[in-house]
């Protein structure tokens, strides 16, 4: 059985009783095999297509992570007739508080490309935990591709946002450079080095470029499917993308970029788009996290990002982080039983005061063990006002800090 000149299988025909097949029988069975081959090929291609689409969907984040201080938005669109390519994106916080993101494009289509993409995504996440230098992460990923995925070419942008979110380290392997939109509306392709794609040149040197990210700025990474049109040059697409982005919102930027570049038409190639916007000082701090010990680091990272934005100096920052850290640690330790619950934080600035409210919905129990209970003493010393409102529906602790002007 053949389909498009490719061997699909062999049709064996036997007989329960002794008989000889004549030319007429052979001719008939050949036709049967031909029909069966076509049906099998069609069935297989639609199954493969469905599997590729399912795989693709499982490999891009279903929900982007909630990262304090950052607004994230993304889009993925399969190509014409639902063709799945090897486009993928990823955003994840690192153990030390930095935030990593990737936008990649495995050359090829369908199931094969989706599988390679899955392997690259896992490998990238693993290397990301081992090094904070994007060029080093891509060097390792390239070596892995050269060794295990011979002949597979991939382009990628990999970036690491600093803990304070004020800069991005970028390494680019043959991929289109992201676009940066500043709060004043000015926009440009980021001035970062572009090194060769992964899987092409063994041991090629790779470089990291650092791009400052002022409060309110937006970075948009994308795959070529967004800006490439058969009937237009790529520069035209890039110019249209830059013009379409909205400084104030990652979500709106994604929506308007898709509308401006694709309009009503369906893209020939698949398209991925990721927008990251650093929140600015006018936005209050809001966090809701599971009340577990691991969340405490997230609370600190969030505060260390937010406090400098609202003009809190380094000395005051240490005290605010300490007191809020103690209150949050108390929630983790005392608010909930084994079933657990959430801790919610809100921060606002008002005339030289920083007010941070920490809420839980649990019923506190008395602390156990020795050498505990120092926390409250510390909190009372560094905060100018501590208000505790404890009800059977939960506890709210409101901390007010006097902070020096400017800092």
């Amino acid at each position: 059985m053949l389909a498009d000149g490719r061997l699909l299988g062999v049709l064996h025909v036997g007989s329960m009783t002794g008989r000889a097949f004549d030319d007429h029988d052979v001719d008939l069975l050949e036709r049967v095999a031909e029909r069966a081959g076509l049906a099998i090929a069609a069935e297989r291609s639609s199954a493969e297509h469905a599997a590729a689409a399912a795989l693709q969907r499982s490999l891009v984040p279903g929900r982007l992570p909630d990262i304090p201080g950052l607004e994230l938005a993304a889009r993925y669109l399969p190509g014409e007739q639902g063709t799945v390519g090897g486009d993928w994106y990823d955003v994840f916080p690192l153990v030390t508080g930095e935030v990593a993101f990737a936008m990649g494009d495995v050359v090829g289509r369908g199931f094969e490309a989706a599988i390679v993409m899955g392997r690259l995504r896992s490998a990238l996440r693993a290397y990301a935990l081992d090094s904070l230098d994007p060029a080093e992460v891509l060097r390792r990923l390239d070596r892995k591709v050269q060794h295990f995925e011979t002949g597979q070419m991939t382009t990628i942008v990999y970036g690491v946002l600093s803990r304070t979110l004020d800069s991005i380290d970028l390494a680019i392997a043959g991929h289109l450079r992201p676009v940066l939109v500043r709060p004043d509306g000015s926009r440009e392709t980021v001035g970062a080095h572009v090194d060769p794609p992964l899987g092409l040149v063994p041991g090629v040197p790779r470089r990291t470029s650092t791009v400052p990210l002022p409060p309110g700025a937006l970075l948009v990474a994308f795959t070529d499917g967004l800006v490439e049109r058969r009937d237009a040059v790529i520069d035209e697409g890039l110019a249209r993308l830059e013009a379409s982005l909205v400084p104030g919102s990652a979500q709106q930027s994604c929506a308007s970029a898709i509308a401006a570049l694709l309009g009503e038409s369906w893209p020939a190639d698949d398209v991925a788009l990721l927008a990251l916007r650093r929140r600015d000082a006018t936005e209050p701090l809001h966090l809701r996290l599971p009340a577990v010990a691991r969340s405490l680091a997230t609370v600190r990272f969030a505060l260390r990002r937010w406090l400098p934005l609202v003009g809190v100096g380094e000395g005051d920052e240490i005290d605010v982080v300490l007191a809020v850290g103690e209150v949050a640690a108390n929630v983790v330790e005392h608010a909930y039983g084994p079933a657990g619950g959430d801790v919610t934080l809100d921060g606002v600035v008002d005339a030289g005061h920083v007010v941070v409210t920490v809420r839980d919905t649990g019923r506190w129990r008395e602390s156990r063990g020795t050498n505990r209970g120092r926390g409250l003493g510390i909190i009372e010393q560094v905060a100018s006002e501590v208000a505790v409102d404890r009800t059977e529906h939960g506890t709210t602790v409101r901390l007010t800090f006097e902070v020096g002007a400017g800092g």
């Binding site: 405490l296 600190r300 982080v321 300490l322 850290g325 103690e326």
Partner: protein, 107 residues
């Protein structure tokens, strides 16, 4: 945790350097590492907290348990937490400066 703690043993002296954030999530492990590092024949322990970027009552708990235990074992403890460091701020606020013999010069 391996990035947070560095232990160097020099004869009867054990030098311990902590770095990064010490909180409820890792304090117990750090405490256990320190306990393991201090052999019975040790006569002095130096704990350097200058590079610690966050330290709260979970860290203080480890510190005071260690100080109490070493005192009983008659092993000297010197904590290096220079004025201006995050750990020193917390140690001063909690009023345990005397308990742990904080020094401004390296332990």
């Amino acid at each position: 945790v391996d990035d947070l703690i560095r232990i160097e043993t020099d004869g009867d002296h054990v030098g311990i350097r902590l770095a990064g954030d010490v909180d409820m999530a890792n304090a117990a492990v750090i405490g256990a590492r320190i306990d393991d590092a201090v052999a019975n024949h040790a006569t002095s322990v130096g704990l350097d907290l200058a590079a610690v970027t966050y330290f709260d009552s979970a860290g203080l708990r480890v510190l005071s348990v260690l100080a109490t235990r070493l005192k009983r074992l008659q092993i000297g403890l010197r904590v290096h937490a220079p004025v201006g460091s995050v750990a020193r701020r917390v140690i001063d606020l909690a009023g345990v400066t005397e308990l742990v013999q904080v020094a401004d010069d390296p332990a």
